[in-house]
Symmetry: C2
Subunit: 212 residues, 2 copies
């Protein structure tokens, strides 16, 4: 059922784990750039150096792999981008959000916009075609959006933003604008588009800020 990682006394072949991880890593990389449908099993096998039978030992199907990759992407996003900004209790809510915007910008700068947002790409490609993926993706974006909503509500409670700020609507708008900015950056291959958009998003936020 669960991954039972804690119990695990390293009994399994040591490679049992790394094979699965090698597949996951290769597939995540390829699907990020080429999309889900356009990435073939053979591509993934070639990239990871794993045989086909071996692949089907670790994954039930390509779809199963897809779900696993989604979990992978989400975990990385939470760990590397979302959590670090919102876990510091000394920072004020709005500063947390601005920190998050910068972090997203940095993550795009690192790849110069190539590949775009792995989650956003899957939304565009699959959410009207594959209900299972759509539901999972909606869940992920829900988490992301909730984190922002919580911060905005905290900001309202401590008087950092005025009552005009509707946390839910603002959170939706932040997520949407970031996704759009990443998409446009991927299209133009010009990171300055991303920089401009994040800057405007910062100005937008200050619209609600009281006493600046």
């Amino acid at each position: 059922m669960t991954t039972t990682k804690t119990i695990e006394p390293a009994a399994k072949t040591r490679d049992g784990r790394s094979t699965r991880e090698a597949i996951l890593a290769a597939a995540t990389r390829l699907i990020h750039v080429h999309g889900y449908n356009h990435t073939t099993l053979d591509d993934i096998l070639r990239e990871s150096g794993v045989g086909k039978g071996n692949f089907y030992y670790h994954f039930k199907s390509k779809e199963d792999l897809g779900y696993a990759i989604l979990d992978e992407i989400v975990a990385a996003f939470l760990q590397r981008t979302l959590d670090p900004c919102f876990s510091d209790p000394t920072a004020r809510p709005l500063a947390q959000i601005r920190c998050f915007l910068d972090r997203v910008l940095e993550s795009q700068r690192a790849r110069n916009g190539v590949g775009g947002c792995p989650l956003g790409n899957l939304v565009a490609e699959l959410s009207d075609v594959h209900e299972g993926f759509r539901r999972r993706l909606a869940g992920v974006f829900g988490i992301w959006q909730t984190r922002l909503t919580d911060a905005l509500e905290a900001a309202r409670r401590c008087g950092q933003v005025g009552d005009a700020c509707r946390p839910d609507a603002v959170a939706h708008f932040l997520v949407a604008s970031l996704e759009g900015a990443i998409l446009l950056t991927k299209l133009t291959k010009d990171i300055s588009v991303m920089e401009q958009c994040v800057a405007e998003l910062g100005r937008y936020l200050s619209l609600y800020e009281v006493g600046v």
Copy 2:
């Protein structure tokens, strides 16, 4: 040019023109929802009732069809959404932009967000995989963004917005935010997300407006 139904001298086989158009219409519909790679020629043929040989009489390849569809989508977008808002000389620039935002919202409401933005979908799916499509798509978004930049520059000249407004950056941000909002609406299947985002975009605009 026009459908020539009135004039109709039955010179060519009457079906010469409408066959191409039937293919184009069916393919545009299918690709909008299922994406480019995931829509097969057979799907298009079935949907349009056209034989395979006939298809390849009218189009060089699937890629060729793709380009034709792009032209189709762009023409429709310019004609039905972009031009009507910016061609009225009596409206002030900012009003033109707000009119445009509403029109985009309406176009999504009509389909309840299903399918998302046909152009945005193609960007996500193809721009990192197919350089030809990427270039064409970049051109289209360039036109769109230029139209907004022009309006913002006009707004600055006539004093409707202050000097803090950088037309280029604001135009990029508007396009990005709209695309992101459409994507999120497609994911959540909830048109109120789109409504919230457009409302926030309206507030953002008023940030630059002088004397409101």
